[in-house]
C-alpha cells in the first residue's frame, strides 16, 4: 500500500475544464471519499490516478514516485466501476482469480485458491463460487466485482460509485463491510460518490469537489461542522442546511449575506413566528416544513409532535453559520 499525491493537476476535455489545479494528499491507509455532484471532476480524478487518462499539467505520485509515464498496469492500482463488468462465461471463482492469473503477477495456483477463498468469505459469496457470473443477482455481481479488486494488493484501490446500483439494505451492509475490509487490510482507498451518507460513514477524509476544484479536504466531522462555504455546507447533512437571508434574524456579523441553519441550529419556542406548512413523519425523525416570512425552511421536531399545518412555531438561530455574498464562510 502506498500514499498517493496529486500536485496542481489540471485536465481539460476540449473547452471543458474537468479538473483545475487540484492538489490532494492521500495518506497510506486512508479511506478518502471524493464528494460532489455530476460533473464536479470526481471520476476524472480516478481516471488520472489509474492512468486511463493523462493530465494536461501537474504531477501524480504513488508511493513517492511520479507515475505520469507509467501504464495503468505499471502503476499497480485496482479499480472498481459503477457498472460491474464480469466475464459472463466464467464462474465466480474464475472471475475472482482472473487478476491473479495475469501474466505479470504469475501467482502460483495454490495461492490463487487461498486468496479467492479468503475474499469470497469476506464478501459472503463463498456459496456462489461455482455459479456462472450471469446467474447472480445485481448485489452479488457487484460484490464479485469488488472482490476482483480485493484479491490483489495494489498501491491503492480506486472505486467509482460501486454501491450506487444496489438496493438500500445491501448498500448499508456493504458500507460497513467495505470500511471493515479497508481497515483490516490497512488499504489505501479512493472512493467516488455523490451519496453523502457513504461519504460521512466510511471516509477518514472527505474531499469536496466543485466544478473541478477541490474546495475542502478533511475528516467528515470537520466538513460537517466547519464548512468553508455554503456549497460545502449543502453537501453534507439531511435535511439539507437551510440558507436564508442573514437579515431575517438579528445578530448577523458584518458582511453576512446568508445565514445557514442546520436543524440543530434552530431553537424552537422563542423568537420569530413561523407557520407550519407540513409535518413529515419519517419514523425515527419528524420533519417540520416551515414558512418564515415567505422563506421555506425544514427542521426536525419531536417524533410524536402535536403540531399540524397552520400552527405557529417561534424559532431562533443557535450557533448558526454565516456566509458572505460569494458563499464563503464568515467565522
Amino acid at each position: 500500500m502506498g500514499d498517493v499525491a496529486l500536485r496542481e493537476v489540471t485536465k481539460t476535455f476540449g473547452k471543458t475544464v474537468a479538473l483545475s489545479a487540484v492538489s490532494l494528499d492521500i495518506p497510506d491507509g486512508a479511506f478518502v471519499v471524493l464528494l460532489g455532484p455530476t460533473g464536479a471532476g470526481k471520476t476524472t480524478t480516478l481516471r488520472l490516478i489509474s492512468g486511463l487518462d493523462r493530465p494536461d499539467s501537474g504531477d501524480i505520485r504513488i508511493a513517492g514516485r511520479s507515475v505520469l509515464d507509467e501504464t495503468p498496469a505499471q502503476r499497480n492500482v485496482a479499480m472498481v466501476f459503477q457498472q460491474y463488468s464480469l466475464y459472463p462465461h466464467l464462474t465466480v471463482r474464475d472471475n475472482l482469480a482472473f487478476p491473479l492469473r495475469s501474466p505479470i503477477l504469475k501467482t502460483p495456483e495454490d495461492a490463487v485458491a487461498r486468496k479467492v477463498k479468503e475474499v469470497a468469505e469476506v464478501l459472503h459469496i463463498s456459496h456462489k463460487l461455482d455459479n456462472k457470473a450471469t446467474a447472480l443477482s445485481g448485489g452479488e455481481m457487484q460484490r464479485v466485482s469488488i472482490g476482483r479488486a480485493l484479491v490483489r494488493r495494489p498501491e491503492i484501490y480506486l472505486m467509482d460509485e460501486p454501491l450506487s446500483s444496489l438496493d438500500a439494505k445491501l448498500r448499508a451492509d456493504l458500507r460497513i463491510e467495505l470500511k471493515r475490509i479497508q481497515a483490516d487490510l490497512g488499504a489505501t482507498l479512493l472512493y467516488v460518490t455523490h451519496d453523502q451518507i457513504e461519504a460521512m460513514t466510511m471516509a477518514t477524509h472527505v474531499g469536496v469537489l466543485d466544478e473541478g476544484r477541490l474546495v475542502q479536504f478533511g475528516p467528515p466531522r470537520e466538513i460537517y461542522e466547519n464548512p468553508v462555504s455554503l456549497y460545502v455546507a449543502g453537501r453534507l447533512g439531511l435535511p439539507r442546511i437551510n440558507a436564508l437571508p442573514a437579515t431575517l434574524f438579528a445578530g448577523a456579523p458584518s458582511g453576512a449575506a446568508t445565514i445557514g441553519l442546520r436543524p440543530e441550529h434552530i431553537q424552537q419556542g422563542e423568537g420569530s413566528p413561523s407557520r407550519v406548512v407540513r409535518v413529515e413523519h419519517l419514523g425515527d425523525q419528524t420533519r417540520l416544513h416551515l414558512d418564515l416570512e415567505g422563506h421555506d425552511l425544514i427542521t426536525l421536531t419531536d417524533v410524536h409532535t402535536d403540531l399540524e399545518p397552520g400552527d405557529t412555531v417561534a424559532i431562533q438561530p443557535r450557533n448558526p453559520l454565516y456566509f458572505d455574498a460569494s458563499g464563503a464562510r464568515i467565522v
Binding site: 460521512m200 447533512g237 413529515e280 413523519h281 419514523g283 419528524t286
Partner: protein, 365 residues
C-alpha cells in the same frame, strides 16, 4: 374526486397468486402508498384499481360504484408510469394537450386548461420546447401535466420517481406532495422505497407475497409494526431483533431475555415459546454500567447522529446515538432499551404480540 374501497380483492396469473385477498379504504383526497418489495403484488393492485388488470375475484368501489370488471376508460383515472412515455415528436404543449384534444375538447378550452396546468407545475417557459431535450425532472413534470390536465377522479402512480437519482428524487418527492396538497386529488402511489412512502403518504399499505401485512398512518406503522416483516422493512437502519425462548403472561411489564430483565409495554396476551424482542435503533442507549453488555463493531458518523453497530450474545444490534457520544470500535459497553417502545413477536409466525403499545393498531386478535 374520489373515495376508493377495495374488498377481498384477488388476482391469479395461472398458478401464481399475485394478490391474495386485499381489503382497504382510500379516503377522498388521500395520498395513499402501496409499499413492498418487488413481487409483493403492489403494482398488480394498482393496475386493478386503474382497470389495466381485471381481478379474479373481489370488488373495487370508486365513489360507491363497483367498477371491478369495467374497462379503464370507464373509470376516469389517470396513470403515471415509472418510465414516463412522452410523444417524442411533439412539443411540451402538444404532449400535455393530447388527452384533451383526443377527447374532442374545444381549442380555447384546451388552451386554458394547458395554461392552468403548466402554471401549477411551473413549466410555462418550456411549453414550446421539444420533449427530446428536456431534463429528467422536466420530462417527469410534463408526464404529470398530461395526467393532471384531464381532471380525473384519481391518480395512479407506479414508482414515478424510481428512475431519478437520489438528490433529485428527494426534490421531486417534495414537489409531488406539494402539488397534491394544492390539488387535493386522491392519489394511489406504488413504491418499494420505505422512506418515500413515509415521507409522502397519508396512509400506507405494506404488502408482502400478495398479502397486506399492515395498513395505517406512517408513524403508527413505524412505532407499532404488526409483523416482523413490517418492522424490518420500515426504518433505516431497521428494527433490531433479539431472539430468545421464554414466556410472558398477560399483564406482564417485563420480560426475561437470557437472564436479563427488560421493561416492555404491558402485555395483552400471554405467550410461551420462541420470541423476538424488537427495538428500534434510536431506542437503544449506550451506558457504562448497564449489565447487558455488547462489543462495539463499527461506528458510522451521520452529522448530528451516528449509527453504532454492536455485538451482543443474542445477535448484532444497531444503535442511533448522538454523534458527540464516543464509542470506540473494540470496546465493551452496556445497553439500555426504551421499554415503552419495545415490540415482542412470535418468532414462528412473525406477528407482533398484543400490548398496551400496539393494541389500537393491530387488526388481528
Amino acid at each position: 374526486m374520489a373515495e376508493i374501497v377495495i374488498r377481498n380483492l384477488r388476482k391469479e396469473f395461472g398458478d401464481f397468486t399475485a394478490v391474495q385477498s386485499s381489503s382497504f379504504k382510500i379516503e377522498d383526497g388521500e395520498f395513499f402508498m402501496l409499499l413492498g418489495p418487488s413481487g409483493c403484488g403492489k403494482t398488480t393492485t394498482l393496475r386493478m384499481i386503474a382497470g389495466l388488470e381485471l381481478p379474479t375475484s373481489g370488488e373495487i368501489y370508486i365513489d360507491g360504484e363497483e367498477v371491478g370488471q369495467k374497462p379503464a376508460s370507464e373509470r376516469d383515472i389517470a396513470f403515471v408510469f415509472q418510465m414516463f412515455a412522452l410523444y417524442p415528436h411533439m412539443n411540451v404543449r402538444r404532449n400535455i394537450s393530447y388527452p384533451l384534444v383526443s377527447q374532442g375538447m374545444a381549442k380555447a378550452q384546451v388552451a386554458a386548461k394547458v395554461a392552468e396546468v403548466s402554471r401549477i407545475l411551473g413549466i410555462e417557459d418550456i411549453l414550446d420546447r421539444p420533449v427530446g431535450g428536456l431534463s429528467g425532472g422536466d420530462r417527469q413534470r410534463v408526464a404529470l401535466g398530461r395526467a393532471i390536465v384531464r381532471d380525473p377522479k384519481a391518480f395512479m402512480m407506479d414508482e414515478p420517481l424510481g428512475a431519478l437519482d437520489a438528490e433529485f428524487r428527494e426534490r421531486m418527492a417534495e414537489e409531488l406532495r406539494a402539488l397534491h396538497d394544492r390539488m387535493g386529488a386522491t392519489t394511489v402511489y406504488v413504491t418499494h422505497d420505505q422512506l418515500e412512502a413515509m415521507q409522502m403518504g397519508d396512509k400506507i399499505v405494506v404488502m408482502n407475497h400478495g398479502v397486506i401485512e399492515q395498513f395505517g398512518a406512517p408513524q403508527d406503522i413505524y412505532d407499532k409494526p404488526a409483523t416482523m416483516f413490517v418492522a424490518d422493512f420500515i426504518g433505516s437502519p431497521s428494527m433490531n431483533f433479539l431472539q430468545f425462548h421464554g414466556s410472558v403472561e398477560a399483564g406482564a411489564r417485563q420480560v426475561t431475555l437470557h437472564h436479563h430483565e427488560f421493561e416492555i409495554p404491558q402485555m395483552r396476551e400471554p405467550f410461551d415459546g420462541d420470541m423476538v424482542f424488537g427495538v428500534r435503533p434510536e431506542h437503544v442507549r449506550l451506558t457504562d454500567d448497564a449489565p447487558y453488555r455488547a462489543e462495539v463493531l463499527a461506528t458510522e458518523y451521520l452529522g448530528t447522529t451516528q449509527i453504532v453497530t454492536l455485538r451482543t450474545r443474542d445477535g448484532d444490534i444497531k444503535a442511533r446515538t448522538p454523534s458527540d457520544q464516543t464509542a470506540r470500535v473494540g470496546e465493551t459497553v452496556g445497553l439500555e432499551f426504551n421499554g415503552a417502545t419495545v415490540s415482542l413477536f412470535d418468532n414462528q409466525s412473525g406477528r407482533a404480540l398484543r400490548s398496551d403499545l400496539n393494541e389500537g393498531v393491530l387488526s388481528h386478535g
